[in-house]
């Protein structure tokens, strides 16, 4: 078999993901480093905004701090995911880069899956880099109380812990905290898959963006409001994270498995729709 024939035979055997690695590499460069850095900085910004106003409270404020931080952080992550993925498919179709790529010897499913995996990797870095960087600050607050400091005495605060803890809210241990971050990542990845589906099916980026924001809002709101009814859905993850932040027991397994399954279904649908779409 000649080299060329062997190469052609190799792309035959790679099935529906032929060209995946090349496309994944291209998409990775879209996400790293700037988009990921932007999302990490946004997360730190939210944490600072929540943490600093709490400085005046003396005791037992870790629970509210964590809850507000997580609610706002999840909201920021969901919105960032929507805004950074709304053009991932439809934007490329509109600009013509999708036609350019799909005209090459790559399988159409690889176009969607390559993007999805790169987005998933970027979101994983964002969630874990931000979440793990914040944990020591939370742990410090759990031990010493929320630091009270004046904005003018910012350099003194580290050495001046105040307040005792009484019946303070327990900080999740590292294992539970990491599991919480993992489930948050699963939630974002589900939303990213949903955005791929919207981008493959619709013809207006405004519609993709609007539907994405709507889906994110519904997930967050139903997680907060609907309680156990959403246990096996992506909204169940939001609910479980808030429970954990409050020091309650929460089962993450059911919502995470449900969300990963839903992500798979949505991704397969996105691939199916994109495979049948005319790239005019």
């Amino acid at each position: 078999m000649t080299t060329e024939a062997a190469a052609l035979d190799r792309i035959e055997r790679r099935g529906p993901l032929r060209g995946f690695s090349g496309l994944f590499g291209v998409e990775l460069r879209v996400w790293f480093p700037w988009r990921v850095l932007f999302m990490i900085v946004a997360g730190f910004g939210v944490f600072a905004l929540i943490y600093v106003p709490w400085r005046g409270f003396e005791v037992n404020q870790l629970g509210p701090l964590m809850i507000w931080f997580l609610v706002f952080w999840i909201a920021i992550l969901l919105m960032s995911t929507v805004s950074l993925t709304e053009g991932a498919v439809l934007g490329e179709i509109e600009r013509g880069t999708a036609s350019w790529l799909v005209a090459m010897p790559i399988a159409r499913p690889a176009f969607i899956v390559g993007k999805f995996v790169a987005v998933g990797l970027g979101l994983a870095v964002v969630v874990f880099a931000t979440g793990l960087a914040v944990y020591p600050v939370l742990a410090d607050a759990a031990q010493r109380g929320i630091i009270d400091f004046s904005a003018w005495e910012v350099f003194e605060v580290a050495s001046q812990p105040i307040g005792g803890w009484g019946a303070y809210t327990r900080l999740p241990d590292m294992g539970a905290y990491v599991a919480m971050l993992l489930s948050l990542w699963a939630l974002l990845v589900f939303l990213a898959a949903l955005m791929m589906l919207f981008g493959s099916a619709l013809r207006s980026r405004t519609a993709v963006f609007g539907l994405g924001l709507g889906a994110a809002g519904i997930i967050l709101a139903s997680g907060i409001l609907a309680g156990s009814a959403t246990a096996a859905t992506p909204a169940g993850i939001a609910r479980a994270i808030i429970d954990i932040a409050q020091g309650k027991e929460a089962a993450l397994m059911t919502p995470v498995i449900g969300t990963l399954f839903a992500t798979g279904v949505v991704l397969v649908l996105a691939v199916w729709v994109f495979d049948r779409r005319d790239l005019t």
Partner: protein, 316 residues
């Protein structure tokens, strides 16, 4: 017997209420340089996109290098290079980066220094080696077009499909693009669309004219430029009124176009029947009031053929 590079039979494509292609038939032989002509909206880009698997036909059949395009045969697509109309590349990538990225998407691509050699060789071939490190956002329209050709050639294709490669280029850019196409044609079949008929006359050996979604002419450039035995150009000097009256009285003379010059007149005479063409010269020579300075079959340029064939189809 080699399979045609492109074979299309009764290809139809409908976009909601618009019928972009309505039963297109064409064949492009391997090794040829085929110009694909037609007015805006005739269906050229739609045809090319169907060949590249970017859009699906409503009905009919198309094959590239013997492979049915509806099979989404990726090994076959690895043998095709494609330059889309208005090519778009990631703006932050460099010229070298774009070509290298595309090269990595092809099966069995070289790696390391071998890849670099191939990429730089291609960039040099399209005359961009001096700006290989420039980002796409800093390229002119002509440079983007040349980069598009470089990426189309990166897989060393057997067939190159170019959608309006000369569009938007200045005269020098156009000249360079034509030279490049001529160079590509020495090792691959070239199927390209254009509105510039002079370019087609210069580099093509085959022409397909399309109008309203179907082919109105298809064949070698020589065949299309050859006029029938019933179309003559004559240059006369003297008083031509008499011979004009005698000619139009003949039932086998169709129409006479007259262009008056300072001392002479150029007549283009179309006969209704080419079997009586041998009567024309004696008739002209028999008139004593004027001299026949020139008499020959009319030359036809591609523009004449295009206007005649496509214009007729448009009802012009």
């Amino acid at each position: 017997m080699t399979v045609p590079a492109i074979e299309i039979r009764q290809l139809k494509k409908r976009y909601r209420k618009v019928e972009a292609l309505c039963g297109l038939d064409l064949t492009v032989d391997q090794g040829s340089v085929c110009g694909f002509l037609g007015p805006n909206g005739a269906g050229k880009t739609t045809t090319m996109k169907i060949l590249m698997g970017l859009i699906r036909s409503s009905s009919g059949w198309a094959a590239v290098l013997g492979n049915d395009v509806s099979d989404d045969d990726l090994p076959a697509r690895a043998r095709i290079g494609y330059l889309p109309q208005d090519p778009v590349f990631p703006p932050s990538q460099t010229v070298r980066g774009v070509v290298a990225s595309v090269a990595r998407l092809y099966p069995g691509h070289p790696r390391g220094s071998e890849l670099r050699r191939r990429v730089d060789g291609l960039i040099d071939r399209v005359g961009m080696i001096d700006i290989a490190r420039r980002r796409v956002r800093g390229l002119s329209g002509g440079e983007r077009q040349r980069l598009g050709v470089a990426q189309a050639l990166v897989g060393e294709p057997d067939l190159v499909i170019l959608d309006e490669p000369s569009a938007g280029l200045d005269p020098m850019g156009r000249r360079d693009m034509l030279s490049l196409i001529e160079e590509i044609s020495s090792r691959a079949t070239v199927f390209y669309s254009t509105h510039i008929l002079d370019d087609v006359e210069r580099i093509s050996d085959t022409v397909v004219m399309i109008s309203r979604g179907r082919a109105v002419a298809h064949g070698s450039l020589d065949d299309i430029l050859t006029v029938s035995e019933a179309d003559y150009t004559v240059r006369l000097r003297g008083d031509t009124a008499g011979i004009h009256d005698r000619l139009i009285a003949e039932p086998w003379v169709g129409e006479i176009d007259i262009r008056r010059r300072t001392e002479t007149e150029d007549w283009r005479i179309r006969l209704t029947d080419d079997s009586v063409a041998d009567r024309l010269a004696p008739l002209l020579a028999s008139d004593d009031d004027c001299d026949v300075i020139e008499f020959h079959l009319s030359d036809r340029r591609l523009e004449d053929a295009y206007l005649e064939l496509v214009g007729a189809d448009d009802g012009d």
